[in-house]
């Protein structure tokens, strides 16, 4: 491998992601603590997250090892395999919590909807990279279709969060690429109609309930509203300087639900206060900006679009998860990258960033 490649690596991005990963592990250590009569016991979430992170780093290195432009060739096959897996889910999938999302391969379970995110991202980048002109109706529909087909399969699982995320990533990429003026205007008009359609046809009762509760948590303080209320109390009670590491009562006494996964940042907010939260938000923004700089510096459209897809992948997750935890968004099961516990999510995150680093490394190479 060319030694020059290393000098082009986006070191800022690497630093941001490792820092976030460490903050995540440390925060999970605290979020794993549970105070019982006998004292504090700590479950092993942070250790597992640490190990998953190491796996993620290996995957990241793998994702950096080959030329990212190979991905363009793999886009369609990968997409088709993913579709096939998604079709298998209703037939061979196993139910967890009333939703069929997993397929068992014997030695491990995979979540085809996770693969769908990647597949749509790569194929979207390939299709958008064909030329530089803003999209007309034909191209727009073509790109949209590769998002809608897997989404239709995912939403029946049901998995609203992933469906939403895929559409938002693809939408972000399309917006970045540019739309013809009339297409953009029509789309803006169509969004409310689509929202209404989702409300009346596409959503399950519990999902509708979540949105209603979001609008007024006190409606249902013991049920769906409980998450929102407790999470606001956790964050708010951190005040300016926080309660200190490991001192969060909302989390340690288990008032805060889902404190390892979706609401992990509430634990952070409770213990580190406003100062810590601003630092974390700043870190996330720097992280996004370094991905952004890679997208701008990339010397080919495919690489750039790919990185923009990754940018939106992270942007939407940060926006939706943080928004949910601080009560600006309804409760949707989307984790916060690096902060929430989740093995496969961590591996996917690292892998995607490997691709970004890959693009940044090879921004001056044009040989085949």
């Amino acid at each position: 491998m060319d030694k020059r490649l290393f000098s082009y690596i986006n070191w800022g991005l690497l630093a941001c992601m490792l820092l976030l990963y460490l903050v995540g592990v440390v925060n999970l250590y605290s979020a794993s603590g549970t105070r019982l009569e006998t004292g504090v016991t700590i479950s092993s979430f942070y250790q597992r997250q640490f190990i998953w992170g190491l796996c993620g780093v290996v995957c990241m290195l793998l994702a950096m090892a080959f030329d990212y432009r190979q991905l363009r060739n793999l886009a369609w096959p990968f997409f088709l395999v993913t579709l096939f897996m998604l079709l298998l889910v209703p037939i061979a999938g196993k139910s967890v919590y009333g939703a069929k999302r997993w397929i068992s391969l014997g030695f491990m379970s995979v979540q085809p909807s996770e693969m769908a995110k990647l597949a749509v991202l790569v194929l979207g980048a390939r299709l958008l990279a064909r030329d530089s002109r803003a999209l007309g109706w034909k191209d727009f529909c073509c790109v949209l279709c590769i998002g809608l087909v897997p989404c239709a399969l995912i939403i029946v699982q049901p998995d609203l969060g992933t469906t939403l995320l895929i559409l938002l990533i693809l939408g972000g990429m399309i917006l970045f690429h540019g739309l013809k003026g009339y297409v953009l205007k029509t789309c803006l008009l169509a969004v409310p109609c689509f929202g209404a359609f989702m409300w009346f046809v596409g959503m399950h009762d519990y999902q509708r309930q979540r949105i209603l509760t979001f609008l007024d948590p006190s409606n249902d303080p013991r049920g769906t509203g409980y998450h929102i209320i407790q999470s606001r109390i956790a964050i708010g009670s951190g005040e300016l300087w926080g309660k200190g590491f490991g001192e969060g009562t909302q989390s340690q006494l288990r008032f805060l639900p889902e404190r390892h996964s979706d609401f992990a940042v509430a634990v952070f907010g409770e213990e580190w206060g406003f100062v810590g939260c601003v630092a974390l938000v700043t870190l996330f923004c720097l992280f996004l900006l370094s991905i952004f700089s890679t997208a701008v510096q990339a010397k080919d459209r495919f690489g750039s679009t790919l990185v923009v897809g990754v940018f939106f992948y992270f942007f939407w997750q940060i926006f939706i998860n943080m928004g949910m935890v601080i009560g600006l968004m309804p409760v949707v099961g989307i984790p916060l990258p690096f902060i929430s516990y989740g093995g496969s999510a961590t591996v996917v995150n690292f892998t995607l960033l490997g691709i970004v680093l890959n693009v940044s490394m090879r921004r001056f190479m044009f040989k085949g």
Binding site: R35, L36, E37, D67, R69, Q70, R72, N73, A129, S132, L175, F176, H177, G178, Q230, R232, I233, A234, I235, G236, S237, G238, E239, L240, T249, Q250, Q252, L253, R254, F255, G269, G273, F274, C277, V278, V281, C285, L288, L289, F292, A295, V296, A298, K299, D300, R301, F302, S304, V308, F311, F315, I318, F319, M322, G323, I326, G327, F366, K367, G368
Partner: protein, 638 residues
């Protein structure tokens, strides 16, 4: 060979195909990202930062204190620590109202896996029907939170506690709770004075924030009236809990303070002596110190066992008490009103002296007075002959008071009687005290819409008609005669100060005159039953008619024993006794007892025997029939 080249050629072709598939396509033109896209991404990141930081500021800085408080409320729960209720003692320190430990069984719904089975098990242990336990459970389930204990049965006996204790591990959610219960060792003897406590009801809890579910609160008697002193103040624990209400630790925030121990002025032995003297008759005895107003005995009979209420009275017991024709729930000393009969003549005599009637002024008593076509009789058929004020009291001559009352008029009687404390409560520290009634012309017009009749003044003058008093009012008045005219609040507490609530509007000479009349009445008049040589005694009897007896001329008055119980006269005696510098006022009232001297008198005498020791030589001749017999002697000796 050719085959080999063919195969290598074939593989080379395949390799070429794969290579071409893997060939990286490179855009020829120099790539520039779309300008609008670049701006979009930057704006999005900026927006994200701005929105999140603003929101964090709002939650953590702007409303931080509020959420901190909510987090505290989440985490800390307040648990009350029971404060023992103050005991009540008699004047010499004997316990009248005590606390004892009682065991109960309660259920924490959240921890209970199978409520129906658990309730069935409780029923099996306790022998209480399952339906009753279910009813209690349904009644209270919304009053206590799921993680708080709901008390299902109380007062389990110790053997059963031991058995439940050994099996309780199999029934999660059940716990044995220790509470204190009130007990009244003297039962009926002090039931009306002490009253009782029971669990606070919803109304009481709404009115008093210090009360919680299951707390005991005074419902009757002193327990009710002095609730605030007896109760004490609960302590508080800060209990740290987690989201599952599991208790993690306790810190004491406020220590409990037990209630005040109250020492009564009542004397348990005197109380018992008076109780025994009544011998089960419906009636009451008041013993009061005329100088201080302190009550030394306050007996009403029949009574009830107040332990029944403290333990939670059963419907059957309650119905039995409520429907009992002798009204055991009634505190006759303060809650029952009676016509005072001739005892009223003490009030009348005081008034007459104050209104210028001279003691030497005489009235001739022929045995009856005619008013229109009505005949008003003196109790003595043959008449008393010429009577002055002193003799009218000693002989209890009705005719004297008929005529004198007529002379002053009912409105003057009303004014004076009210000034003597009648017609209003005495202020004793017991609930539901009655006022009695002092009638007037105005009152009758308001009450019946009819004018006052002259004959009614006759009746009022001898303590009949509409006049109604409580026994304690009589005791307060007689005390005032002795202490110089102060109408004192009857005190039940040993350390209570002397409290003057009014004054008898009479000169000291007047009071001395009436006292002297009482002395002479006890020394040979109608109240001689209480007279004794070793002490200075005074008294006045009364026999109050309950129904107007229609008697044709010449017809014999019926004896009490020949009448229906409810139509028999009330027997009164109001007395005082002074020995060795100690003075007491004793008022006895026996409901439907018959003659005052024959029925109430012996009761009072027994009380004095307890106070002053056995009488060395009574002035009561052994021929006095009522001294030995329970039931009245022939005729009225009023």
């Amino acid at each position: 060979m050719s085959r080999k080249t063919e195969s290598t050629g074939h593989s080379a072709q395949a390799r070429k195909g794969i290579r071409s598939w893997l060939k990286i396509q490179v855009e020829s033109e120099s790539y520039q990202p779309p300008r609008s896209g670049v701006i979009l991404l930057q704006v999005l990141v900026g927006l994200l930062f701005f929105v999140l930081v603003t929101r964090f500021w709002y939650l953590q800085v702007h409303r931080g204190a509020e959420f901190t408080r909510q987090a505290q409320e989440n985490r800390l729960r307040i648990e009350r620590i029971f404060a023992p209720r103050g005991r009540i003692l008699d004047s010499r320190g004997k316990v009248l109202s005590d606390n004892r430990t009682a065991y109960g069984l309660s259920i924490v719904r959240e921890d209970c896996r199978d409520i129906p089975a658990t309730l069935a098990q409780i029923s099996e242990w306790s022998g209480i029907p399952l339906s009753q336990i279910w009813e209690k459970f349904r009644q209270d389930r919304f009053k206590v939170k799921p993680f708080e204990p709901l008390l299902l049965i109380t007062d389990i006996d110790f053997d059963l506690v031991a058995r439940i204790e050994s099996e309780i591990y199999a029934w999660p959610g059940l716990e044995i709770v220790v509470r204190t219960k009130r007990s009244y060792p003297e039962q009926d003897l002090f039931a009306h004075v002490l009253g009782y406590v029971a669990e606070a009801n919803e109304r009481e809890m709404a009115a008093d924030s210090a009360l919680a579910m299951g707390d005991l609160v005074g419902k009757q008697g002193l327990e009710l009236k002095l609730e605030q002193q007896l109760r004490g103040r609960k302590g508080l624990y800060d209990v740290e809990v987690d989201a599952h209400s599991r208790v993690l630790g306790k810190t004491l925030r406020e220590e409990p303070h037990g209630g005040h121990e109250l020492r009564l002025s009542l004397d348990i032995d005197l109380q018992r002596a008076a109780w025994e003297a009544l011998n089960g008759e419906a009636g009451c005895v008041v013993v009061m110190e005329p100088d201080s107003g302190k009550l030394r005995a306050l007996v009403t009979s029949p009574a009830y066992d107040n332990n029944l209420f403290a333990a939670g009275i059963s419907q059957r017991d309650w119905d039995a008490l409520r429907t009992n024709s002798r009204f055991p729930l009634q505190n006759r000393v303060i809650q029952s009103v009676y016509p005072p009969g001739s005892v009223w003549k003490l009030v009348m005599a005081t008034m007459l002296l104050e209104h210028g009637i001279l003691p030497r002024e005489s009235v001739f008593c022929p045995g009856q007075v005619k008013l229109g076509n009505q005949i008003f009789r003196c109790w003595r058929r043959g008449g008393h002959g010429s009577q002055d004020l002193m003799h009218s009291l000693i002989n209890s001559c009705d005719v004297y008071y008929y005529l004198m009352g007529e002379r002053l008029g009912v409105d003057k009687i009303e004014e004076f009687a009210k000034a003597c404390g009648f017609g209003k409560p005495t202020g004793i520290d017991l609930p539901h005290e009655k006022s009695g009634l002092v009638p007037s012309k105005q009152w009758k017009r308001r009450r019946f819409g009819r004018p006052w009749a002259r004959g009614e003044t006759y009746n009022v003058s001898i303590g009949q008609g509409y006049t109604l008093v409580t026994p304690v009012q009589v005791a307060v008045f007689v005390s005032a005669l002795l202490n110089g005219g102060d109408l004192l609040k009857p005190q039940l507490l040993d350390d209570a100060p002397r409290e003057v609530r009014g004054r008898v509007p009479a000169r000291p000479e007047t009071l001395k005159f009436v006292v002297e009349a009482m002395r002479r009445t006890a020394n040979g008049g109608t109240a001689k039953v209480v007279g004794r040589k070793d002490a200075d005694m005074g008294g006045k009897t009364g026999t109050a008619q309950v129904v107007k007896l229609k008697m044709a001329a010449g017809e014999r008055r019926l004896r009490s024993s020949e009448m229906e119980y409810a139509q028999r006269d009330h027997a009164w005696i109001a007395t005082w006794g002074i020995k060795d510098g100690k003075s007491y006022v004793v008022v006895v009232m026996v409901e439907h007892g018959g003659g005052g001297s024959s029925v109430a008198g012996p009761v009072a005498r027994k009380v004095y025997e307890h106070l002053f020791g056995p009488a060395a030589g009574t002035k009561v001749a052994s021929s006095q029939p009522e001294a030995s017999g329970l039931r009245p002697a022939p005729g009225r000796t009023d």
